[in-house]
């Protein structure tokens, strides 16, 4: 009974424990329970999500590596490929925001350079609770400083991202971090423990007692005692990571590396067993050889520590000295801790005693897979009967417009991104603030555009549609930047999967992601699932964050959202409907999230994307901006607020739209974009839109110093700018 109780305390179920005993033919010891509990945790095993994740399209002509490795890899031509992934660090960041966020950055960077690529860009997608709460301010400050502290120090630019606030994140902020690296196609490394008798080496920081049970913690919901879990949070050391990065890149050039994997969640346990599993080999680890920070650490602690900045590497036998010389030069710990075996077991020895002996397959492939029950959430029954006319027509559109511009959702996030070094490595062509961030690829004409998106209000109202929109908006952002959408990495943040209503949200969300990814031809090549984002029984809105990358073949064709020239014509592409469900307008006026989210027609989206791409190729567009939160009025003003000062517009909307004025301004109908171009080029655009069947409306001209929308809005552009640019800081500071 005693061992079963230990297993239960580790988060294993009785059923799972019995399965282990049956497979082993004996009871597992403490170390073995620790190993299995970590690897069978939701965080490591994906046991609740696996059967659903299979529905995501993962293949495509450009895909070199799909899910299952440390990161996904996509071919960008010229013998080059990009390696990228997004990951969540939600639970640790709530408990200790600075270190939680910092180690999130550290972890995702290791996932990239473990595959042989030098990381060249970071992004993040953040969700916080009500900005009026002091706790939110504390979390924002800590998380932003943590990301900045790590990324700035290691010298990898944080080039973009997004941040949203909603009460549903009060007890569970989301910290999703994305990293992208670049390497040559023939210089990719994988997490493979190949070649029996090859040495297994440990490099990086010493192992301490920090982060033990991190993976298990990330697989539980929070209670009031969350802060007691602080010891399960790791501490980041970006300087050591910088040394680890440079030394690993130096080691790759020697040609002696067989396989490599970082020690992330579940540390030495996951790296060793996953590498062995991929190569269908076994591995033996002599625990005495593991460099450690503290005395008298047990095999249990060493195997489960999540100390940061460590790598496990298998090299060709006989080359130990070459490897050691490199790591010594960079002042890092280096130790041969074991070797690859034929046995297909994980064997841990200490002083020649066997401390753990488990089949690799039991730890990895045979981890449980659950088809958890799902049920449509009760709250959705009340959602459908929302009548747009229940929103009273506002007396003063100017004032509601300024309210939206200065809202935490829409207002400028400069306060955040100025804390990130977004220029280091001198590749940042378009910094944070436009539809997508653009980084050039030196020694080529190419550039990569990157964006992250998820409107979780939409997902709450309809997880299928909201998730499809996250993909569609990402692709639209890229097309507005002149980039062809290539592939996705995602971070699926949900509540407790053991609750059938949450499972239903998850299932529907996957269906939406899958359908959109399929139609828009953007396979999902990597990602992660974060369940249990729930405190005291209250779950977050479903938040399937999508990060998408796109390719710009010729950097000269890139676009930004900012108007360029006085006299340019402004054209709206796509159709506007009366869609207020989950909109910023609804939130500002009614303070609620209700009704149906905007609908998404993926074929229309695809047509719009093709239109934008073709128009950007012809060079006629001076700017392009997607319409999203805050609708047309917000998109127009964001195009006016250029980094080089604001520029006015004169807009006249034909009333043949036949919808309410406030819907013209603030509806969040999808598959729309705002472009500007010279008047003489309008016929060219007209031809392209006809070809793809995209509705085109000439709505005005870039001109003057007022934001003028006939019969609706008329304010000095500088006033609008002031509301937009200071809104975010004002909200944070007013409650400091």
């Amino acid at each position: 009974m005693e061992n079963l109780q230990i297993a239960l305390n580790h988060g294993l179920s009785t059923q799972e424990y019995n399965k282990i005993v049956n497979k082993l033919g004996r009871e597992p010891n403490l170390t073995e329970i620790g190993i299995l509990a970590a690897m069978w945790s939701e965080h490591c095993s994906y046991k609740s999500s696996k059967i659903h994740l299979k529905r995501l399209p993962t293949k495509g002509a450009n895909v070199i590596q799909g899910p299952g490795e440390n990161a996904g890899i996509v071919d960008i031509g010229d013998e080059l490929c990009v390696i990228f992934k997004m990951e969540s660090h939600n639970h640790p960041s709530f408990i200790e925001p600075y270190q939680g966020a910092a180690t999130g950055v550290g972890g995702i960077l290791r996932d990239i350079f473990t595959m042989g690529a030098r990381p060249i860009a970071l992004l993040n997608s953040l969700r916080f609770g009500d900005p009026k709460l002091p706790k939110t301010r504390y979390l924002v400050d800590g998380v932003v400083s943590g990301i900045a502290g790590y990324g700035n120090c290691i010298g990898i630019p944080t080039v973009g991202g997004e941040v949203y606030f909603d009460e549903c994140y009060n007890g569970n902020p989301l910290i999703n971090v994305f990293a992208l690296g670049i390497t040559k196609k023939n210089e990719i490394f994988r997490g493979l423990a190949r070649g029996v008798a090859n040495p297994v080496i440990y490099v990086g920081s010493k192992t301490g007692r920090d982060g033990i049970h991190g993976a298990v913690m990330a697989s539980e919901t929070f209670t009031k005692e969350a802060e007691e879990k602080r010891p399960a949070v790791q501490v980041g050391d970006p300087f050591t990571e910088k040394l680890l990065l440079e030394s690993c890149l130096e080691l790759f050039k020697t040609g002696i590396v067989v396989g490599i994997q970082d020690m992330g969640a579940a540390g030495l346990t996951s790296s060793s067993t996953e590498m062995a599993n991929r190569a269908a080999n076994g591995i033996i680890i002599d625990i005495d050889k593991v460099p450690r920070r503290e005395k008298e650490m047990t095999p249990y602690e060493i195997m489960l520590s999540e100390s940061q900045e460590r790598m496990l590497i298998v090299i060709k036998k006989g080359n130990e000295e070459i490897a050691e010389r490199i790591f010594r030069k960079w002042n890092l710990d280096f130790s041969v801790i074991g070797e690859v075996t034929e046995s297909s077991d994980l064997r841990i020895i200490e002083n020649s005693d066997i401390m753990a002996d488990l089949p690799i397959s039991l730890i990895t492939e045979e981890a449980p897979i659950y088809k958890r029950p799902s049920k449509k959430p009760a709250y959705l029954n009340n959602m459908k009967n929302f009548d747009i006319f229940s929103i009273p027509f506002p007396n003063n559109l100017d004032s509601i417009f300024l309210k939206i511009l200065s809202s935490p959702t829409v207002s400028s996030k400069r306060w955040i991104f100025e804390q990130y070094d977004h220029m280091v490595r001198t590749n940042t062509v378009i910094p944070p603030g436009s539809d997508a961030s653009i980084i050039r690829i030196k020694d080529t004409n190419k550039a990569i555009a990157i964006t992250t998106n998820c409107n979780s209000r939409y997902c709450y109202l309809d997880p299928y549609t909201g998730s499809a929109i996250a993909v569609a908006e990402s692709a639209r952002n890229l097309a507005c930047s002149g980039a062809k959408p290539l592939a996705i990495t995602d971070c699926l943040n949900f509540g407790n999967p053991e609750n059938p209503e949450i499972m239903w949200q998850f299932k529907k969300s996957i269906e939406g992601l899958a359908q959109a990814a399929l139609v828009l031809n953007t396979p999902v090549v990597s990602g992660n699932v974060s369940f249990y984002n729930e405190t005291e029984g209250v779950a977050i809105f479903p938040t399937p964050t999508v990060a998408m990358i796109g390719l710009i073949e010729d950097i000269r064709n890139h676009l930004t959202q900012w108007f360029e020239k006085e006299g340019d014509r402004i054209v709206l592409l796509g159709e506007t409907k009366e869609e207020f469900g989950g909109s910023e307008y609804q939130k500002q006026i009614q303070g609620t999230v209700r009704g149906k989210p905007p609908q998404i027609d993926l074929r229309a989206e695809s047509a719009l994307i093709h239109t934008l791409l073709e128009a950007s190729q012809t060079g006629i567009l001076h700017s392009a901006h997607d319409l999203s939160e805050g609708g047309l009025a917000t998109a127009i003003s964001e195009s006016c607020f250029t980094p080089n000062g604001s520029i006015g517009v004169k807009i006249k909307i034909n009333d043949n739209m036949k919808i309410r004025n406030d819907a013209i301004l603030f509806s969040e109908s999808q598959s729309r974009a705002l472009v500007s171009l010279e008047r003489k080029n309008i016929p060219i655009l007209d031809k392209i839109t006809r070809e793809y069947g995209v509705k085109m409306s000439n709505i005005g001209v870039v001109e003057g110093d007022r934001l003028f929308i006939e019969n609706m809005i008329d304010i000095p552009i500088n006033e609008g700018y002031n509301f937009w640019s200071s809104g975010f800081e004002r909200i944070l500071n007013s409650y400091a």
Binding site: S145, A148, G149, N152, C153, I154, G155, D237, P238, F239, T240, K242, L243, W330, N331, F417, E418, Q419, Y420, D421, H422, M423, V424, R425, T426, T428, V429, P431, R440, K442, I555
Partner: protein, 243 residues
Amino acid sequence: MFNFGIILFPGSNCDHDCYHAISNVFKQSCEYIWHENKGLDRFDCIVIPGGFSYGDYLRTGAVARFSPIMREVENFASSGKPVIGICNGFQILVETGLLPGAFIKNSTTKFICKWVNIRVENNSSPFTNLLNVGDVLRIPIAHAEGNYFATEDVISKLKDNSLIAFKYCDEEGIVSNSSNPNGSCENIAGLMNSEGNILGMMPHPERCSEEILGGTDGKSIFESIISWLKNSTGSKQIKTGRF
């Protein structure tokens, strides 16, 4: 073609950016110098790039100053050849004592990465000779500890000897509190040693030397160095004392 050496400390992170600018944009020869190596005679100019040397967990530059390469840099400078420290490089030069003063946390208490304007205060140096006094350069900064501090004595010596190279200003070149991003004394963004051949500057000229990166005002600084090297007849012996 001149030979530029870029000092590499553990934790330097603008080394590649400087290398790219010098070799690909300005077409000069360029080499990295690991901080444990010796012998800088073959170089015409030494660059100490930005970054977080040794993580800068202590005061910025406080560990790098003890690295043996800094003695080599001092010797190199005493031959009269130019040394430029950018961002963390500036902080290291100050910690080493090759430039006066100290750095404290930005007055905003945050890391700041943005474009600022700086006004040229001295155009008779190896780093600014193609510029005019009063020229305004648009250039990025990226630092958490760029708040330059010095005693009044030091400030008056800097002023009396025209050793201030750049001051933070607005677009029109007006130097004021509102154009000071980090709280630096006298809005100082860059300064030189008494002999004028060591420059430290917080802004990053290597980040604005190509149109694609949003600005090219940094070019004038590298081009000034190259022009100065062309015109200097052999290396003048300058005695570089501590400031």
